[in-house]
C-alpha cells in the first residue's frame, strides 16, 4: 500500500514535470521571439517547428530519468529560467 502511494506520488511528479517541460518550451520560445522583435514573423515558425520536435522528447524525458524529483526540479528550473529570460527581454 505504502509503495503504491509512493509510486502514485512519483507519477504525479513526473506528469507535472512533463507539463513544466511544455511550459518551459513556451517561455523560452516567447523569450527568443521577444529578443528579436524585428524578425519575429520569421522566428515564430522556426520556434514552433523546433519546439514541436522537442516537446515529445521533453515529455518522455520526465519519465526516462530515474528520480522523479530530478525530473520535477529540472523542468521547473528550465521553466523558471525561460520565464526570467522572457521578463528580462520583454
Amino acid at each position: 500500500m505504502g509503495k503504491r502511494v509512493k509510486n502514485s506520488h512519483a507519477y504525479a511528479y513526473r506528469i507535472t514535470a512533463a507539463l513544466l517541460v511544455w511550459l518551459a518550451l513556451v517561455l523560452w520560445g516567447s523569450a527568443l521571439v521577444a529578443l528579436s522583435p524585428a524578425i519575429s514573423q520569421a522566428t515564430i515558425p522556426g520556434y514552433r517547428v523546433l519546439a514541436s520536435a522537442l516537446a515529445p522528447f521533453g515529455m518522455v524525458w520526465a519519465f526516462w530519468v530515474q528520480s522523479p524529483l530530478y525530473a520535477l526540479c529540472g523542468s521547473a528550473g528550465l521553466a523558471a529560467c525561460g520565464g526570467l529570460f522572457l521578463v528580462l527581454h520583454a
Binding site: V26, L27, S30, A42, S52, A55, V60, F63, Q66, A90
Partner: protein, 481 residues
C-alpha cells in the same frame, strides 16, 4: 533499458493512450477521410457528374460568376470567394462562410449556368471534424492540439518500448493466437510498418496546431491605436474590372491555372496550388479590383518559411498527386488501426478485471470506435435518403451522424458487450454494403461507371466486407465479457 524505466514508459504509454486514444482515433479516421474531401463532396453531390473532368472555365462562366458576386455584394452579403475548376473538382463554385461551413452556388464551368446540387457539407465535414472535433472555436482546436501533444509522447514512448523488436515485429502477426496476442501484434505491426508516417503526420500536426499549443507570450501589451470595434464586412468587395481578363493575366503571371480567387481590401487575389508538390505555399497574383491593374506577385519564401510550408503540405496533402494521397490514406488507416487495436488490447489483456471503470472502458471502446465508423457511413446514407429539395438537409446530415453515434453509445450501455459489438459490426457491414446499391439507384445516369463513384463505392464495399469479416473474431470477445 532497465525494467524500472521500461515500466515507467509503459505507464506513460498506457495512460496517455487511454486519455487521448478515443479522440485520437476520431481525429485519425476523419483525417484519413478528409484526404479525399473534395472527391467525397462530389460523390455527395452526384448532380455535378454531368460536368466532364478537366473542363476549363470559359470567359462566359467567369462573367456569370462575377455577376453572382455583384448581386451578393448588393444584397449586403459578406465577401465570397471563387473555387476554380481543377483536376479534383471540375465545377466552378462561388462560396461564402455561413458560420458553419462554406456554401454557395455551383456553376458549370463551360456555360456558367447554376447546377441544382443538393446542399451538403460533404467532405468538408470530415475535414472540420478532424481539427475541431465539431466543438466551438477555439476549444475544439485547443483540445485537438492537446491530444496531438499527448499522441506525440505516445508514439515516442511506444517506439522506445518496442525498439529492440522493431525489425522482428515487422513480420509478426498471429491472428489465430489468443485475442490479446493478436491485438498486440496488430498494434505493433501497424505501428512499426508505418512508423515514418506516424512520426511525420504527428509532428506536422503538432506544427499545424502549434498556434494553440505553443503560444507566443507577450508581456508588453501593444497600446491600442483606436477603439476596438467589431470587424465589419466591407461594403464594396466584388470586382468591377473584368474577372475573365484578370484571370487570363493571372494565369500568365503564375504559369499555371489559379485554383481560387479571393476578394480583399479592394484587391482581387488569384492563388494557384502548386500541384504534384509537397509545398503548401500557394503562388498568388494581386490585381486592383476597380481597374484590373496587376499589382504584385507572391515573393519567394525564406528557407524557414519554405520548411514550414512543406511540413504543412505533408500534413494537409492538398497539393500532392493521387498516388501519394492514396499512400497517405493507407498511412491514416494504419494509424487508426494502431490506435484502435491498442485501446482494445488494453481491455482484452486484463480478463480478470471487473471494476466498473474497466467495464466502462470496454463499452466505450465499442461505442466510440465501432460507433464512429457506423456514424460516418450513416452520414453518406443520409445524403442519399434526405430529399434533395429540403433546405436544412446539410444540418440534418450532420445531426444524423451524431444521432447514430449517440445511439451506438446508448446501445452499448444498455446491452451486454459481446451482443452490442455484434450488432454494431452487423450494422456497419449492412450499411456499407447497401451504400453502393443506394448510390446506383439514386445517382444520375452520367455518374454511372465514373471512376469517382466506382472508387468510393468500392471502398464502401471493402469496409462492409471487413465489418462482416470482423464478426468471425467477435465470438472470442465473449470470453472477455
Amino acid at each position: 533499458m532497465t525494467p524500472a524505466r521500461r515500466s515507467r514508459l509503459a505507464w506513460l504509454h498506457r495512460w496517455a493512450g487511454l486519455v487521448s486514444g478515443w479522440a485520437a482515433f476520431a481525429i485519425f479516421l476523419t483525417g484519413t477521410l478528409a484526404l479525399f474531401d473534395t472527391e467525397l463532396t462530389r460523390w455527395m453531390q452526384p448532380e455535378t457528374a454531368i460536368i466532364p473532368d478537366k473542363t476549363s472555365p470559359t470567359p462566359t462562366a467567369i462573367e456569370h460568376a462575377q455577376q453572382i458576386l455583384r448581386d451578393d455584394e448588393r444584397a449586403g452579403a459578406p465577401p465570397s470567394f471563387l473555387l476554380l475548376p481543377d483536376a479534383r473538382d471540375p465545377t466552378l463554385r462561388v462560396l461564402h462562410y455561413d458560420g458553419h461551413s462554406f456554401v454557395g452556388p455551383v456553376l458549370a464551368p463551360h456555360t456558367g449556368q447554376p447546377i441544382p446540387v443538393r446542399q451538403t457539407e460533404g467532405g468538408n465535414f470530415f475535414f472540420n471534424f478532424h481539427y475541431t472535433l465539431h466543438l466551438p472555436n477555439p476549444w475544439g482546436e485547443r483540445l485537438v492540439a492537446m491530444i496531438a501533444f499527448a499522441f506525440a509522447a505516445l508514439v515516442l514512448s511506444g517506439v522506445l518500448l518496442h525498439l529492440k523488436r522493431l525489425v522482428p515485429d515487422y513480420f509478426t502477426l498471429r491472428l489465430k493466437a489468443a485475442l490479446p496476442r493478436s491485438l498486440l501484434d496488430l498494434h505493433v505491426l501497424t505501428g512499426s510498418a508505418m512508423l515514418p508516417f506516424h512520426i511525420m503526420i504527428t509532428w506536422s500536426g503538432l506544427i499545424l496546431t502549434a498556434e494553440n499549443a505553443l503560444p507566443v507570450l507577450q508581456l508588453e501589451q501593444e497600446a491600442p491605436t483606436q477603439a476596438e470595434a467589431p470587424p465589419q464586412s466591407p461594403t464594396h468587395w466584388a470586382p468591377r474590372a473584368s474577372l475573365a481578363v484578370m484571370l487570363q493575366q493571372a494565369q500568365a503571371h503564375l504559369g499555371s491555372m489559379p485554383s481560387y480567387v479571393l476578394f480583399d481590401d479592394g484587391k482581387t487575389i488569384f492563388s494557384a496550388i502548386q500541384h504534384d508538390s509537397l509545398n503548401a505555399n500557394d503562388l498568388s497574383a494581386e490585381f486592383d479590383s476597380q481597374t484590373g491593374e496587376f499589382l504584385s506577385q507572391s515573393k519567394e519564401p525564406s528557407p524557414i518559411e519554405n520548411a514550414f510550408y512543406t511540413l504543412n503540405g505533408l500534413h494537409l496533402a492538398r497539393s500532392m498527386g493521387l498516388l501519394l494521397r492514396w499512400l497517405w490514406f493507407a498511412g491514416g488507416l494504419a494509424s487508426s488501426i494502431m490506435v484502435a487495436s491498442g485501446l482494445v488490447y488494453y481491455t482484452a489483456r486484463q480478463k480478470k478485471q471487473t471494476t466498473h471503470a474497466f467495464g466502462l472502458a470496454k463499452r466505450l471502446n465499442i461505442a466510440l470506435l465501432g460507433g464512429l465508423i457506423t456514424a460516418c457511413l450513416s452520414f453518406f446514407v443520409l445524403n442519399r435518403l434526405i430529399p434533395v429539395q429540403w433546405q436544412a438537409r446539410a444540418a440534418l446530415e450532420v445531426a444524423g451522424f451524431f444521432g447514430v453515434w449517440a445511439s451506438c453509445l446508448l446501445l452499448v450501455m444498455l446491452i451486454p458487450i459481446s451482443k452490442s459489438a455484434r450488432i454494431i459490426a452487423w450494422a456497419t457491414g449492412l450499411i456499407a454494403l447497401a451504400l453502393p446499391v443506394i448510390d446506383g439507384l439514386s445517382m444520375p445516369l452520367q455518374a454511372w461507371g465514373s471512376m469517382l463513384h466506382l472508387t468510393v463505392n468500392g471502398t464502401f464495399l471493402l469496409t462492409g466486407l471487413s465489418a462482416m469479416g470482423s464478426l468471425r473474431f467477435l465470438p472470442v470477445w465473449r470470453s472477455h465479457d
